[in-house]
Point group: C2
Chain length 337, copies 2
Amino acid sequence: MLRGKQTWWFENRPVIIGTGTVVGPDEGAGPLAADFDLVHAELDLNQKSWEKAERLLLEQASDFAIKNAGIRKDQVQFYIGGDLLNQLISNSFTARDLGLPYIGVFGACSTSMQSLALAAHLVNSGTAEYAMAGTCSHNCTAEKQFRYPTEYGSQKPPTAQYTVTGAGAAVVAASGSGPVITCATIGKIVDLGISDPFNMGAAMAPAAVDTIQTHFNDTGRMPADYDVIVTGDLATVGHRIAVDLFARDGVPMQDTVFSDCGLMIYDIERQKVQAGGSGCACSAVVAYGHLLKRLQRGELKRILVVATGALLSPLSYQQGETIPCIAHAVAIERGDA
Amino acid sequence: MLRGKQTWWFENRPVIIGTGTVVGPDEGAGPLAADFDLVHAELDLNQKSWEKAERLLLEQASDFAIKNAGIRKDQVQFYIGGDLLNQLISNSFTARDLGLPYIGVFGACSTSMQSLALAAHLVNSGTAEYAMAGTCSHNCTAEKQFRYPTEYGSQKPPTAQYTVTGAGAAVVAASGSGPVITCATIGKIVDLGISDPFNMGAAMAPAAVDTIQTHFNDTGRMPADYDVIVTGDLATVGHRIAVDLFARDGVPMQDTVFSDCGLMIYDIERQKVQAGGSGCACSAVVAYGHLLKRLQRGELKRILVVATGALLSPLSYQQGETIPCIAHAVAIERGDA
C-alpha cells in the first residue's frame, strides 16, 4: 500500500457509530439547524458564565453521542478532546464528569479532526473498542479570551469571523453501523507571517492547502475522488485564498466539491457574522451533524474534512509574533461504500 | 494477554533511541545537573521575553534528542508536544521551526508522559518509524500566567512549588538501541475539591494514586515489579499525601522505590524552592535526563514514570471551580532486559 509520510491509514475501518451536536441560537437560525441534536434558544444556556455555558454544550453533545451510539458511557475507553479556552477547561471539566480516561489535545479549531484522527487510531490499532472525540466553542468565551470583552461592543472588520457556539462529539467503534474513517493526514505548522487576529481565514488558508495537497500526494487520491472536501473555518476571505492557491498550483478543485464549514453553518448574507463562522465547534457540528447525515442518507459517498486551526495566542501576538496555523484532514466514507 | 481498560500495551517494544534535556540555572545548581545535555547560566537565556526563553529551551532539547538519536530531523514523522502556556505557544513555534507534522497535547505537567505514550503508540502500531515527544516549562512564564507577575515579588506559602525551567524531548523508534517502552496507563480526571493554586501537590496526589493503582490492576504488576516509581511533581506535600493514600489502601509501596521528580531535581533543604519542583519539564528532564541514564548504566531495570498534571485555569479558579487533576504512567525497561 502507498503509505505517505503524514497520512495514517485505518485498514480495520473504524466506524463512527454515533455523534452528538448541540448549538446556540445563531447556529439554530442558520441553514443547517435541522441537522443538530439540540438547538439552544439562549446564548448563555441559563448558566452563570459563558464558560459554564460552553461546558454544558460539550457535556450535552457527549451525552447525545453516547446515546446515539447505543452504548453505555462506561464502554467508552478513552475520551479525546480539546477546546479554545486556556487549559482546555471545557474539556477538563467534561472529562471529569464523564469519568473516562482523558487525552487533552489542542489544535485550536483543528481540534475536531485531530481528536477524531486519534480516536480512530486507538480503535484501528485495537487499543480501544470504543473511543470518543469531542470539541466545543462559544462565541462569547472566545471573544473575551482572544479579542475584547463582549460588553465592550468593539466593532469588527469584515475579515473577522464569528465563533460558532456549539459542541460536537463522535463515538468511534471497532465495528458497527455508520460512516467509516479510512485515513487521516496530520498537518504541519504553516505560518506565512499574518499577525492580524481579525483575519484568521487568511492566516489559515495556506495550512489547509498544504494539508490537502499532502493528503493527495500521500494517498494518490485527487479532488475528484471526493464528493465533498470541506475546510473547517476559512470563511469568505480564507476560502477565496485557498481557491486561488489551488488554481495557482493547477489542482482541479471544483466549486461543487470544495467548500468551508464556516460558510455553510450561517446564511452569510442574512446573518451578521462578518466573513463567516469559526471556532472548534464549526467543523465539528457541520461534519458530525450535517455531512455525516448526508453520507448516511446516501447523498454522499466519500468526504474529506480538513479542520483548520489558527494557534493564535494573545500574548505572543502582543510580543510581535505571527500566527502559526495547522490543518488536519480526515477521510470518511459511507459505511456500505 | 491481560489487557486492562486504561492501559496501552506496546508489544512491538518501541525504543527511546535519543533524548534531549536542557535546564536553567536553578536546575543546574541541583543534584542532577550532570545528567542534562545543557545547563543555562541565565534564566532568560539572553532572550527578550520569558516566553522566548522557554521556546528556546524546547528547540534546544528537540535538537539534542534528534542528534543523540543519530537520525536526521526529517526522519521524525510526527512531533507530539505541549506545554503550560496558553495555546501551547512554546510547542507551536518549535513545531513550526522543526517543520514536522505536529500533534499538540495538553495535560499540564502530565504532558511529558502523555506525549511519550502517544509517540510510543504511533510507533508500536507501525504508523511511524520515528516519533518525537517533547515538553517544556519556565519558572517565570508559569508564575506570570498562573499566579502573579514575577516583578511583584509576591511571597509564597511553603506548600507552593517551584516551576522547573527546562525542556525534555525523546525520540521513539521502531527499533534501535535504548530503553524500551512497554506499556502506558492513561489517567482519568480526579478532583477532590482543592482550589488553592499554591497547593498543587495536594490536588494532584489522588490522581497519581488513582493512575498507579489502575496500572497495577490493569497489568497485574505490583510495586515490587519496579525499581523506581516516580510521580511527576507532587513535591513534599503531595508526596506525603500519596504515601498516606497507598498505606491506607494497603499497597506495599517502599520508600526506596517510590519517589517524586519534584523532590529529586532540587536540593530541597538548600535551594529556595518551597515544597519542591513542578512544571511540565520537571518529570521530562528527570525521566529523560536522569532516570533513562540510570537504566542505560544498568543501575535500574524497570521504571514507572507517572507524570502528574493539575489542569489549573486562573479563570475557572476565579469562577470558584476546583482544580481537576490527571496523571499518566509510562513503563520503561532497560533495552537488554
